[in-house]
């Protein structure tokens, strides 16, 4: 006869669970699903299997890329993740620039980093907000979206659009940084610095939120590597990997910043990684504002090629880059390129194959959320049903980004 388990010391998972099986269709019309259907197979309160039925917001970016010119693709590739459009845009442009062999002036490189970091903060705040509302914490939701608004406003001042910025173009960026925007950014940083302790008080250190996130959706380092996790999820599991460090693009090789890594691998660690990244991003932005070199924001090559009336004069009077219409059908040389950037949710990979025509022969876009699909399915196994949303939110899985 086995000894009776001590009710007061045993964990909830040790209790015998009477098998009551059933399926739940979480989504696509469900407040906690977003644009996907999660087919959940339950045994009691424990998820035996969660299957992600993705594709409800599939835009077929890759197929459309075959019939769009390179320039026309810029707005298209950033649609899948409008919260993170700078990164989507940047990765594509990096691949394109590799094929074209364009060199980008320093100032434009810094501006790319600046826009990317602002976008990263905005995206992390959005992700935290979504996680909060999944846990029923409406204040975190509203604060996340409210604070994000500050950064979106900055982005709007810089790029001219709130979300689908199309800011980065081959050879540089579209608009320059002005003193007014600098002031705005400094103000935004001051505001966000003031807000982070408040965030910690109501959200991160809230006993209720800690109970929901700690030891939930634990992903070990080995699992994270095997499943190909990316971004904050990977770093929350103790893997030191950030494209900004390993393959610096834009101005990241000249900037001083750290990569937060947590060993725990649970949902709480992932949230912490995001919050630390917000702080690091603000450091980066401060450095950029201080150190940004003077100069053009577009490659000299384009200035030489395009008649001054069309580009140079417009740039000098308005401070904006406007390409002439015939640029829409330029032809890069034959070749292929792989680019990767560290988007807010993780590593974003573009593979671009050009056959010399104005349209790409093949564009492959692998977004961080796409790579999170498998991680999500694996993590949900064995979790409690209520943890499904906690895992979902902590992975910062964004369906349109995964579907592309």
């Amino acid at each position: 006869m086995t000894a009776q388990p001590n009710v007061f010391t045993m964990d909830a998972t040790q209790i015998d669970i009477v098998p009551i099986e059933g399926e739940l269709n979480v989504g696509p019309q469900h407040p906690g699903s977003g644009h996907l259907r999660i087919y959940v197979k339950l045994n009691g309160d424990i998820i035996e299997k969660a299957e992600l039925d993705v594709g409800y917001v599939h835009r077929s970016v890759e197929k459309l890329a075959e019939v769009r010119n390179y320039m026309h693709l810029i707005p298209l590739v950033e649609r899948p993740a409008i919260l993170d459009s700078i990164h989507m845009n940047l990765g594509y442009i990096l691949a394109l620039e590799k094929i074209m062999g364009v060199d980008v002036p320093d100032r434009a490189q810094y501006l790319r980093s600046l826009a990317a970091e602002i976008n990263r903060i905005a995206s992390h705040l959005y992700g935290t907000g979504i996680l909060a509302v999944f846990l029923g914490h409406s204040t975190g939701f509203m604060w996340g979206f409210g604070d994000r608004e500050v950064w979106v406003e900055v982005l709007q001042a810089l790029t001219g659009a709130r979300v689908t910025n199309s800011y980065i173009i081959p050879g540089g960026v579209r608009r320059d940084l002005t003193p007014t925007i600098k002031e705005m950014i400094e103000k935004a940083i001051r505001y966000q610095r003031k807000r982070i302790p408040e965030w910690k008080r109501i959200f991160l250190n809230n006993p209720n939120i800690r109970a929901r996130l700690e030891n939930v959706g634990v992903m070990s380092k080995e699992q994270a590597i095997a499943w190909g996790a990316v971004g904050p999820n990977l770093r929350g599991s103790g893997v030191y990997y950030d494209v900004r460090k390993f393959e610096p693009y834009a101005a990241y090789d000249r900037l001083d910043f750290e990569i937060p890594v947590y060993k725990e691998g649970d949902a709480y660690a992932r949230v912490h990684v995001r919050f630390n990244e917000i702080e690091e991003s603000m450091k980066i932005i401060e450095q950029i504002i201080k150190e940004i070199p003077q100069g053009n924001i577009l490659s000299d090559r384009f200035f030489k090629q395009i008649p001054p009336t069309r580009l140079k004069k417009h740039y000098e009077t308005h401070g904006k880059i406007v390409f002439p219409g015939y640029y829409a059908s330029f032809r890069p040389p034959k070749g292929e390129a792989i680019s990767r950037v560290e988007a807010a949710r993780g590593e974003l990979v573009y593979y671009l194959n050009s056959d010399g025509s104005p349209k790409p022969y093949r564009l492959r876009m692998v977004t961080p959320s796409y790579r999170t699909i498998y991680v999500f399915e694996q993590l949900a196994k064995g979790a409690r049903y209520a943890d499904l949303v906690a895992i979902y939110g902590s992975l910062d899985y964004f369906p349109p980004e995964a579907d592309r």
């Binding site: 909830a12 509302v133 846990l135 409406s138 604060w143 409210g146 809230n206 209720n208 209520a386 499904l388």
Partner: protein, 352 residues
């Protein structure tokens, strides 16, 4: 002429009618619930750097909830295929009813022999325990237990409602309610037993008339009861049954229109009635006033409790069901036991 007016006055102020229908029952309660929801939205907006209801009416959009209620009530009622229509329609009425019915046993004030509008009913609503009349729909000496006995039926009808809608999310919600109800009922009952032992009575009026608020006499019981109240009425952080991001709206998932209003109204009414009970037993109730002013005092105390419990939404998320159960059995049950011990000691040494 005066006779007719006298008769009308007699009928209106007849406690059984007055308590259930006018104050603090249906009419006052309904308006207060709307106010509480408005307050919930407004205070959450304040915490969350928003404005909240704004446009309807001049004063902070206070009529917004009335407008919302009318709109929802006039929406089309959709009866899903594959349910028993009769059961489906009547099911949401029961939880509301059983959230509301316990009010019948709850005294909301005492009647002095003279000088109050209720003095005419002094003899018919006489309570020998306090040697005064009590304003209650059904005066009984066992009101402390009677209220809980009726309230305990509430979760059964939530389960019935979920069963009648034939929806899986509703069923999961119902199972959660079943688990949770065992936990919170035990807590509430134990804290009430502690109080009963301490005051040597099962009569709410006698507890109040003793002049010592329960929260002073037995703070542990008051705490345990308050947590139980929040759990029982699905307020944050124990809003587990209706958990929106997990279960859509739990047992009310399939309902629309007026039926949805009824299905969701139950928990707010439940909060209100529990709060009245809590105010009477633990916060000193109407003491030292009597008659109608006493009832207003009781109402205001209950209002504070309700408003506080809805305010918790802007502070907390929701616990998982297993965490809520573990907390209530592992942490709060010992406290409840301690409160009984404290009740015995207090009843033996202090309150006679």
């Amino acid at each position: 002429m005066m006779d007719i007016l006298q008769d009308i006055k007699y009928v209106i102020f007849y406690p059984s009618f007055f308590v259930m229908i006018i104050f603090p029952g249906l009419i006052a309660g309904g308006l207060f619930v709307l106010f509480a929801i408005w307050f919930e939205r407004k205070i959450a907006a304040r915490v969350q750097m928003r404005v909240g209801p704004y446009y309807v009416s001049r004063f902070g959009g206070i009529a917004q909830l009335l407008a919302d209620a009318i709109r929802v009530a006039l929406q089309e009622i959709i009866i899903p295929a594959g349910v028993n229509p009769t059961l489906y329609v009547i099911a949401p009425i029961f939880p509301l009813l059983f959230a509301f019915l316990p009010l019948a046993f709850l005294p909301i004030g005492v009647i002095p022999e003279q000088g109050s509008v209720f003095s005419a009913y002094y003899h018919s609503f006489f309570d020998p325990g306090v040697n005064m009349g009590v304003i209650a729909a059904l005066p009984t000496e066992y009101s402390l237990i009677a209220v809980l006995a009726v309230e305990a039926a509430y979760p059964i009808f939530i389960i019935l409602q979920a069963w009648a809608t034939n929806n899986r999310f509703a069923l999961v919600g119902a199972v959660r309610e079943a688990y949770l109800s065992v936990a919170y009922d035990v807590l509430i009952l134990m804290s009430v037993i502690a109080t009963a032992v301490e005051y040597h009575t099962l009569d709410v009026a006698k507890v109040v008339q003793s002049g010592i608020p329960g929260i002073v006499a037995n703070p542990l019981a008051a705490f345990v009861f308050f947590v139980g109240l929040i759990m029982a009425t699905s307020r944050f952080p124990f809003e587990i049954v209706e958990a929106e991001s997990e279960l859509v709206t739990g047992p009310a998932t399939e309902y629309s229109g007026l039926l949805f209003l009824l299905a969701m109204g139950g928990s707010y009414f439940g909060t209100y009635v529990y709060a009245l009970y809590f105010a009477a037993v633990f916060l000193g109730g109407w003491y030292p006033l009597s008659g109608f002013p006493g009832a207003v005092i009781l109402f205001l105390k209950a209002a504070v409790i309700v408003l506080f419990s809805v305010f918790l939404r802007s502070v907390y998320g929701r616990y998982r069901i297993d965490q809520a159960l573990r907390n209530s059995w592992r942490l709060l049950l010992p406290v409840a036991l301690a409160s009984i011990v404290l009740g015995i000691v207090g009843g033996w040494l202090w309150i006679r």
